[in-house]
Symmetry: C2
Subunit: 131 residues, 2 copies
């Protein structure tokens, strides 16, 4: 597999990370994701990491970068499905992911995104309004 | 990675297949998926294969099996994101996936599932009615 698929679900983009990330794959994901945010004028990005059992500083940095890139493109990032061991590792690595909102699962993540979008004083105040 | 994550999105379950499937992973996906259909009383399963560039008869059979299992649990299966080359290979392998509905992408797949659920004379006739 040479790229991670990005699925458009309503007004959000959904990414599930299932494979071990390496440099090239991470760069490609960032490129694809920013391109799709721009293309679809998406206001939210959901990243599901429920199948990741180990997270290292590389992945932590990548997630932080994706969130920062999304933010400057006016999209919110929510990280979902983090396993307890991953939370422990991230904090022990000194990465508490300050700019990223998290949710237990994709459903709650979508609710959170909708809330955030509603609060945000932009043109899209409903989840399907722009389509 | 030892299992493929299954995401609950509204009334549907969403599976994105990104990694090369092998026996054990396929069996585990079938077990997990049937368990979740049963647990959440899901009426629809979306399987996204947009990152698969090659499909062999093993994956074709697995997809057909998943659709058949879902059907007997009263859930519809829609396959999304098939690449043109995969369509050619599947038909050349003699697998035209007769029991499986397909859609170009996840958004259209969700619309299709909603239509199918609405036509289906069961208790859930709206996408969020059961929640």
């Amino acid at each position: 597999m040479d790229r991670i698929p990005i699925l458009k679900v309503g007004d959000c983009l959904l990414v599930t990370i299932q494979v071990d990330m390496h440099d090239e794959l991470a760069v490609r994901l960032q490129e694809d994701l920013t391109a799709q945010i721009s293309k679809y004028a998406s206001r939210g990005v959901l990243i599901d990491i429920s199948s990741l059992e180990i997270v290292d500083s590389f992945i932590g940095r990548m997630l932080a970068n994706i969130a920062a890139m999304s933010r400057v493109l006016d999209a919110q990032t929510v990280l979902t499905g983090m396993q307890p061991a991953v939370a422990i590792t991230l904090v022990e690595l000194g990465m508490s992911l300050p700019g990223i909102k998290t949710a237990l699962n994709v459903e709650r993540g979508m609710e959170l995104l909708r809330e955030v979008m509603r609060e945000d004083p932009a043109e899209a105040d409903d989840d399907d309004a722009e389509e």
